[in-house]
Symmetry: D2
């Protein structure tokens, strides 16, 4: 049975990864799903609550500090006295490859908003809560950040996207080095490859070979494994890709 | 209950990591422990067999192809018809920092023997068996290789040690890229920090802080997690270190 | 004698590296120095002009597209018909280590402004000019970007700074991959260590050992070497550090 | 005019890179070319000597310590009192991609011989000489090591080759960290792409585009630039590739 006194929060719960992580963490904790529109989390919240778990959806714009502040006040009301065991940052921007000279400053900014600026706000909000949970959390309190291939490698026509994702990784690494010694586990996941979601069906990865796209449930298991690690052996970065993905 | 038709083999079963991996994988498979002397695995074999698992110890020198060949013939005799689900390469050399100009060619060779040459022989022996298990193994057949900080970073007075460990990682990466598309999972683990073993007590890591050395059981859980990954989401490298380790 | 028909532009000309690069490139080209205040470039401009070179200083805020636009119109007026052979992005932010939970969003933004946002604007302005120079430039047209240790490694209490510098490197890598095939050389320099400038005397690097801080003239030679590379052998990243620097 | 009191030695002088480095360094030093057969260096030695430089060819098997010892005794006889300013390790093995399960142990060993074992012997021989030159060498004494893409990235069917090249890089990094503080510059060059040599004409790189293969003269200029760096700004690794090379 899930502990009532600790919860997990997932920012960016509308994507395949965020949704699957919510379902996985709900096996052990009440989960809070943050997204910009209820449509992003409604179905998942119902699914978790109707199958024995506990889930709450809260509308929030992670890149807006005051919206984020309201969200955490709302959590405090709905889960009074509950402490934070795990926080997952899984916010994405719509993006696509584009010749550099055609990218607008607005497009760059959208990537900087959803990546370094959003993570910055989310981490400043959650790290004090995670630090507070160190003494009694059932597992080391954990902040997990979803990255991409572009977190570690710039590519032609992806400067705007890579700028955001590299910055995300910079923050993740810096936080790991600052907060591991204080007992909070910070981990960054390089997800390399398409993700197998209903709405991603149109994108045919790896020639359409079976399992050529990552099952979000596998990423969720990876995240849970990270959260379950003993503090004597923290992993601060993983990469996950389909068996047929070139890398 | 453990499947009888698939087994796991651990080369270098005498160390903390090898021993813990054997115990962990024995929850699901009969395990074969390879080491140069029976003293390295005897206690672990007894422990596993007396607690409901199934373990076999075989004396073998991994860096000698004919010794390795005999070992696998012996496995075939003792576990007739059983197929290989997981192979772990965990062979180490005694080493220590030494000014480069004082290192002997014999010391370099000892590192090349236990690292690239040993892994080369072990991988050539196990990969055909793992490929053969792809269609029916309960989890994707897996080859896991234990590396170290020195796999990814050369340090002053560690040229001989880093030469072997870098080469190990080179092989691991190459095999991942060659065998993932064929369904065999190849993963390399950078273990960064001292390991908490009875015989390692003398080595005081991280100022003696509690959990300042990695618990081998945590590494074993990481290895099991790698083995359990769905082929749509293989991780080919992890790094694990104590929360207080500088990196 | 310097070619009159090609020039070089240095953004962030007030620092040791920018100043030294201006002096070095002035041996072959008229140079344009961009900085936020005349005080940053006045002395260097006089020095170059009085020793046989040709230098122009223009006040510009690189992170403001309209200010950048004016600067290039001003260049067009002052060097009519001259084409761009080399552009150097050397803009920095004041920063220092700070516990993550004390960093303000404004401090993060200052780093994002001077790093990804500033480079984005500068690259969008200069790349079309560099492309235009490909057919007849005496050396492959080059965009050089000054990074730091924090471009490739996040550190405790440096999340805000690393976020900007990682993003800079992301853009640099992406541009190298997009523009090398079109004949423009893009290179990123990881400057690892203190720089030996008059105003940096207070900062005692490496225990005050002689040459324990990088001479900016060495970085300038490195930049010139990058610019001089034949297109059959472009280097897209260098790292430079004092011989006594730990890395 | 070249200084008579300092010389440079190039191991593996028969290839395009070794030959070009000899010609470049001969502008400033007498050069010694080491190769397994005179045919590898004869033409280059004649060319240098007939154009105002000074070159000596010595037959040596770098991977055999006694052969290497004889070579350096021979240098001492032919250039009495001359000190070593620069040593270049440019030894290669014939290799090609091969399915891992078909590679023989002999093929792996050939790669380990020419890479870590050869460099180990060469570095142990040259580093004491380079250290001895620190006080009075016209430029910081330098050891340069030629690597390849496979130094930093394992690829399918290249395990044997990558094992050697990764190990080379491990030694290079370790030596840089050990010998930089003592005043000897150690640098590793990742040469990524085909090299434009007469005997390499058959290999059509990058679709046969002009300059699609690296001109060895460019690599030689890069090596000279490394050797010319002031010790306040050593670069320990460069990568060089054709402008059209994918990376």
């Amino acid at each position: 049975m899930a502990s009532k006194s600790f919860y997990a929060v997932i920012a960016g719960a509308g994507t395949g990864t965020g949704r699957a992580a919510a379902v996985r963490f709900a096996k052990s904790y009440p989960v809070v799903l943050l997204a910009r529109t209820p449509a992003s989390f409604d179905e998942t919240v119902v699914q978790i609550n109707s199958s024995g778990g506990s889930a709450i959806g809260i509308v929030a714009d992670i890149t807006d500090p005051s919206s984020l502040q309201s969200a955490f006040e709302s959590i405090e009301e709905k889960l009074p006295g509950s402490k934070l065991a795990a926080a997952i940052y899984n916010v994405n921007t719509k993006f696509g490859p584009k010749p550099f000279l055609e990218v607008t400053l607005e497009e760059l900014d959208a990537n900087l908003d959803s990546a370094p600026r959003g993570l910055f706000a989310f981490a400043q909000k959650t790290l004090p809560l995670l630090l507070d949970s160190v003494p009694d959390s059932p597992r080391p309190p954990t902040l997990i950040i979803t990255g991409a291939t572009a977190s570690a490698r710039g590519s032609a026509r992806f400067a705007h996207f890579a700028a955001g994702k590299f910055a995300l990784r910079a923050i993740a690494q810096s936080l790991a080095r600052e907060f591991h010694p204080r007992g909070v586990h910070v981990a960054h996941a390089i997800i390399d490859g398409g993700i197998d979601t209903p709405w991603g069906k149109a994108y045919v990865a790896n020639g359409g070979v079976e399992d050529g796209k990552i099952k979000p449930e596998q990423i969720a298991e990876d995240y849970w494994h990270l959260h379950s690690q003993h503090r004597s052996g923290f992993t601060h970065e993983i990469d996950t890709r389909p068996f047929v993905e070139k890398f």
